[in-house]
C-alpha cells in the first residue's frame, strides 16, 4: 500500500486478533505487566471484573498490527487511544480502521481506529498518524 493508492474514507481490512490466555501471558511478560487481573479469570472475577481482561496497551499493539498488515512498511508516528470498556481474555475481538485525512506534502495519513469486543461493543477508540511509502 503506497500513499498514491489511498483515498479518503478507505477502510482498512478488519482483523480479529488473538486474545487467548496464551497470547495475553506472552504479552504481559514482555511488557512488564504480569498481574493476575490479566492472566487469572478467577482472580479477576473476585475483583468484580467479568474475567481476566486484555491489557489496554495490548489493544494498541493489535491496532498497530492491523495498520502494518494493511500497509507493510508503513511507519506509525503517533497512536492515541482511549479505552472505553474491558475486553475479556479468551473471547473474540475485531479491529477496524478508516482513513480520515491525507497530507499530500508529508505523505502522512490519519486513520480512525476502533476495537470491538465479542458483544460488538466498542472497547477502544483512537487515531493514528501513519507515514506511507511514496
Amino acid at each position: 500500500m503506497r500513499f498514491s493508492d489511498v483515498e479518503l474514507g478507505d477502510d482498512l481490512p478488519e482483523t480479529h486478533p488473538d486474545i487467548s490466555m496464551e497470547r495475553v501471558k506472552l504479552f504481559v511478560k514482555s511488557a512488564y505487566m504480569d498481574f493476575p487481573r490479566f492472566t487469572d479469570h478467577e482472580f479477576a472475577k473476585a475483583e468484580g471484573l467479568p474475567g481476566a481482561i486484555v491489557p489496554g496497551v495490548m489493544s494498541q499493539g493489535f491496532l498497530a498490527a492491523m495498520i502494518h498488515q494493511w500497509a507493510p512498511g508503513a511507519k506509525i508516528h503517533k497512536l492515541d487511544t482511549v479505552f472505553r470498556t474491558t475486553m475479556v481474555v479468551d473471547t473474540s475481538a475485531t479491529c477496524r480502521g478508516a482513513v480520515t485525512d491525507l497530507n499530500e506534502e508529508s505523505h502522512l495519513v490519519e486513520v480512525d481506529l476502533t476495537m470491538l469486543n465479542h458483544e460488538g461493543v466498542t472497547s477502544v477508540i483512537g487515531t493514528a498518524t501513519v507515514e506511507l511509502a511514496d
Partner: protein, 148 residues
C-alpha cells in the same frame, strides 16, 4: 474549587523522576508476536531495520513513582478515570538500547459539562536513548471529578 493556574505553575513541565531500561531482543520479539504483528521490522532479528514495535514503549514506566510526583496534591473526589494513552515515536528503539525515561506533568486543565467539572492531568514520559536522542513521548491522561 481547584486553582488550576496555581497547579500548572507548581507542577507542569518539571521533571520529577528518572528510570532506566535496557531493551532485550527476546522481549521485543515476544511483544510483537503477542500482538500478532508479523512485520519483519519487529519480528525478524536478521532484518536490517529490526526494532521494537512502535507501541512497546507504552509499556515502560507505568509505575506510581514515574507517573505522579511524591508530593503531588490529592485532587478531586472518587476514583480517577483513564482518559487514554498516546505514543509518539521520534526514533527507532533497538535491542541493546539503554533508555532513560524522564517524567513530568505535561498539562493540567479543566472541562465543565453536564456532570460537572472534570480535571485532566496529562502524565508524560520522555524517552531518550544512550546517545541522548529522543526516541518517544508517552502521554497518559487521567480524569478526576472536582467540586465546582
Amino acid at each position: 474549587m481547584v486553582d488550576i493556574d496555581s497547579l500548572r505553575r507548581d507542577w507542569v513541565g518539571k521533571e520529577f523522576h528518572r528510570a532506566e531500561y535496557t531493551i532485550g531482543q527476546q522481549q521485543v520479539l515476544d511483544y510483537a508476536a503477542s500482538c500478532g504483528d508479523t512485520d519483519p521490522r519487529y519480528s525478524d532479528p536478521s532484518n536490517p531495520d529490526f526494532e521494537a514495535h512502535p507501541t512497546f514503549i507504552g509499556c515502560l514506566g507505568n509505575t506510581r513513582d514515574a507517573m505522579t510526583p511524591q508530593d503531588f496534591p490529592g485532587l478531586g473526589r472518587g476514583r480517577s478515570i483513564d482518559g487514554g494513552k498516546s505514543v509518539e515515536i521520534h526514533g527507532p528503539i533497538r535491542p541493546g538500547d539503554r533508555l532513560s525515561a524522564r517524567s513530568e506533568i505535561a498539562d493540567i486543565y479543566a472541562k465543565t459539562g453536564r456532570s460537572g467539572t472534570m480535571l485532566f492531568i496529562v502524565h508524560r514520559l520522555n524517552f531518550f536513548n544512550q546517545n541522548e536522542e529522543p526516541v518517544a513521548t508517552v502521554d497518559l491522561r487521567q480524569i478526576k471529578a472536582v467540586e465546582d
